[in-house]
């Protein structure tokens, strides 16, 4: 056992030099959303509803950033054309 003494040498705050976007949080996903580009109308309902804000707007078919997507399937549930399919990730 070691005592952690109260001294001015202890840190007051930890300052990071990396943006928190470097913290890639998409690696515990068990299923991934796949947009059927042929049927997508580009309505952006998925972009609006994504709680992770990882759906990126493009000219038409949005791109989902898999570095952050948790596979929650809200985009699939909300898509009015039903064109987001949830596909199982390979077992790690």
């Amino acid at each position: 056992m070691r005592r952690v003494e109260a001294t001015d040498a202890l840190p007051v705050q930890l300052v990071g030099d990396q943006p928190t976007s470097e913290n890639r949080t998409g690696d515990w996903r068990s299923q991934r959303p796949v947009i059927d580009a042929a049927r997508c109308t580009g309505c952006l309902i998925c972009w609006k509803y994504c709680p992770e804000a990882c759906v990126t707007r493009t000219d038409k078919v949005p791109v989902i950033l898999m570095d952050y997507c948790k596979g929650c399937a809200i985009c699939a549930a909300e898509c009015p054309r039903d064109c987001v399919a949830m596909q199982p990730e390979e077992a790690a």
């Binding site: 952690v4 109260a6 007051v12 705050q13 930890l14 990071g16 943006p19």
Partner: protein
């Protein structure tokens, strides 16, 4: 210049004199006038900071968390349910080591609805890492706001300046309002370390592993204890500059007292009157007011208690299943001790604690009628 002010206005003027950069608040009875006066001063151009009317107390403290992170001196005020709603952000601000100053007006928590004074709201925030000052007069409210900024910015921890709902917040009394130049001489501009700045990007408060987290918490405790010295020093410097000051505790006629009333907040000044009247009857009465609750002033408390004096702790707060909150803390601070310490719970939800009532409590404790482990719930029979 002397003005006749209510406690809430003294609080707002203290913030304006501190040259606050960002104030964000949401009105709630009985704190409302502290926000109204700041908004009015901002509209007239007399308050140069940015006044943000938030959509809730949770948002108000979130705004200050952001503002303080970019180096602003920040202020808010709230009460009761507003403070409870802020609870999560109180931890965020303390953990982020931001010197936010908040005025907190004591009011009972529901259910059932009650608007009047009760210290359970602020004492429930005991473990958030905020310093807590309990004021006895409107003058002390204004003076403590200025002192709180100085201490908070030196130890990098937030501070709560607490006053009683209505009995202090709405009572008009003479307050000596310092000039801006005098306030500036006491309180230097804020020199923030490690601020968020787009020119030099950093990240703060990111995911931290247990070992580092433990050390950061140890540092908070270290700085909180260091604040005892800073508070005492700020009080002394204030005394030198303005001719009035306050310490960690205020003792009154305690030197040879047999029984001492222990209070916090505005009841502290009522207790002095009760002590004077008991002394006039030849009784050895004294009283002691805790001005600072966090950090807890253990040494200052011990230093002003005669060895065998009995204590009667009057709590306008209660932790269900335990006892009055100051009672618990004082017993812990004096452990081990053979001293008799009696707890009285009184005036919850704004019941008056009068001179006569305090005299009754003192007589009960002095006669040794109190049971140490079983706090007495008492009300004024008159």
């Amino acid at each position: 210049m002397k003005k006749v002010l209510m406690g809430n206005h003294a609080a707002a003027l203290g913030a304006a004199l501190a040259r606050v950069d960002v104030a964000a608040a949401y009105p709630i009875t009985p704190q409302t006038q502290s926000v109204e006066l700041l908004a009015e001063l901002a509209a007239k151009g007399d308050f140069k900071g940015r006044f943000v009317l938030a959509d809730s107390e949770h948002s108000a403290m979130s705004i200050l968390l952001g503002a303080a992170s970019v180096g602003a001196r920040t202020f808010t005020s709230t009460s009761s349910h507003g403070l409870a709603y802020m609870h999560e952000l109180l931890h965020w601000v303390a953990g982020a080591r931001l010197p936010v100053v908040m005025v907190e007006v004591n009011r009972a928590l529901a259910a059932p609805w009650n608007l009047w004074t009760d210290q359970t709201d602020s004492l429930s925030q005991r473990d958030t890492g905020w310093m807590q000052f309990y004021c006895a007069t409107s003058q002390e409210v204004l003076d403590t706001v200025l002192q709180a900024y100085r201490v908070a910015e030196r130890v990098r921890l937030p501070a709560m300046v607490v006053l009683d709902g209505f009995t202090l917040s709405h009572t008009y009394e003479p307050v000596d309002v310092p000039s801006q130049a005098a306030a500036d001489a006491f309180l230097p501009p804020y020199q923030p370390p490690d601020i968020l700045d787009p020119a030099r990007p950093i990240s703060l408060g990111g995911l931290t592993m247990p070992k580092e987290y433990f050390r950061l918490r140890r540092r908070i405790d270290h700085d909180m204890r260091r604040a005892l010295g800073e508070i005492a020093a700020a009080g002394r410097d204030f005394q030198t500059q303005f001719g009035r000051g306050c310490g960690l505790v205020e003792d009154y006629r305690c030197e040879d007292a047999a029984t001492i009333l222990v209070t916090a907040g505005a009841v502290g000044s009522t207790a002095q009157e009760a002590v004077d009247s008991l002394r006039a009857e030849g009784l050895r009465a004294g009283c002691l007011r805790l001005r600072v609750f966090r950090p807890f002033p253990t040494q200052a408390l011990r230093a002003c208690l005669p060895p065998r004096a009995r204590l009667a702790v009057v709590d306008r707060s209660y932790s269900p299943g335990a006892s009055g909150i100051f009672f618990q803390e004082i017993k812990a601070a004096l452990y081990p001790s053979r001293r008799e310490i009696a707890g009285y719970v009184a005036g919850l939800g704004g019941g008056d604690i009068t001179v006569e009532f305090l005299r009754d409590i003192w007589r009960d404790a002095d006669a040794g009628r109190a049971v140490a482990d079983d706090p007495a719930w008492v009300e004024d029979a008159r």
